[in-house]
């Protein structure tokens, strides 16, 4: 059980917690939090692989994570804007009740 495997298991667990939350929780914001956790699990994987690679001066892992953080922040912003717009229209953030396609 090398340190790399430890990190991989940790990020797998984190990913599955995020997945479980996204699938089971009712509230849209918690679904979004779950997605954030999944994204972060992926980032952790990148950094773990970068750290334990032979030529770590290639910096690909770190670059990927920096851009991934940027994209995730943008995605969180747009996601929350959507949730607020849906809340304003449907007066609820419960994912089950937001099921009619009529605008």
């Amino acid at each position: 059980m090398t340190p790399l495997a430890g990190y991989l298991i940790l990020s797998a667990m984190l990913f599955c917690i995020g997945l479980a939350g996204a699938l089971t929780r009712r509230n849209a914001i918690i679904v979004l939090i779950g997605i954030e956790l999944m994204l972060n699990a992926a980032n952790l994987n990148f950094i773990a692989f970068w750290r334990f690679s032979e030529h770590s001066e290639a910096l690909t892992g770190i670059m990927f994570v920096i851009f991934s953080i940027g994209v995730a922040a943008a995605e969180a912003a747009v996601g929350l804007a959507l949730i607020i717009a849906i809340y304003r229209h449907y007066k609820t953030t419960n994912v089950d009740e937001v099921n009619s396609l009529k605008g």
Partner: protein, 164 residues
């Protein structure tokens, strides 16, 4: 498997489980912030200093507050009365467990389980800066564009429409 790794892993997992299972939404958001901070500690332990501090700055500093504001704007402050989990929550948990099983199996049998620990990779901010400015300058411009577009999009979506 040093002790510090175990402590940080425990912190991250506990915080993320709390973020997923707590009833009060604001508590979930705060637990998420703790999870982000734990992840930053994990990055620091992996000698990725720049990414660790960037993680704190972006996630703990901004995204956590963004989520907390969203919770307040959608009246999530009070604890919900009805059941927090959706009807068929068992299926969700089953799917998650299955995914974890396959991932754990893959990690166990992959080459990672016997990878020796290479030397301490010391990365200075100057190297990251050079890489960003030379090899990855195109993604940098694109992400700048993307962030602006996302910001404007988010503002337009969340803007109050004028009553016609």
């Amino acid at each position: 498997m040093t002790i510090s790794f175990l402590i940080i892993a425990a912190l991250i997992l506990a915080a993320s489980v709390a973020a997923m299972t707590l009833r009060n939404l604001v508590h979930c958001a705060l637990a998420l912030a703790v999870a982000f901070a734990g992840l930053a500690a994990a990055y620091l332990q992996l000698n990725a200093q720049f990414v660790g501090f960037a993680q704190i700055l972006v996630y703990v500093g901004a995204v956590a507050i963004l989520i907390v504001f969203a919770v307040l704007l959608t009246r999530g402050g009070e604890a919900p009365e009805r059941n927090v989990f959706s009807g068929d929550w068992k299926w969700g948990a089953l799917v998650a467990a299955l995914v974890f099983g396959t991932l754990a199996w893959a990690v166990k049998h992959s080459f990672a389980s016997d990878r020796p620990l290479p030397t301490k990779a010391e990365v200075t901010v100057k190297q990251i800066g050079d890489a960003l400015m030379t090899k990855y300058v195109l993604p940098l411009e694109v992400i700048g564009l993307l962030l602006t577009a996302a910001m404007i999009g988010a503002v337009i979506i969340a803007m109050k429409e004028e009553k016609k």
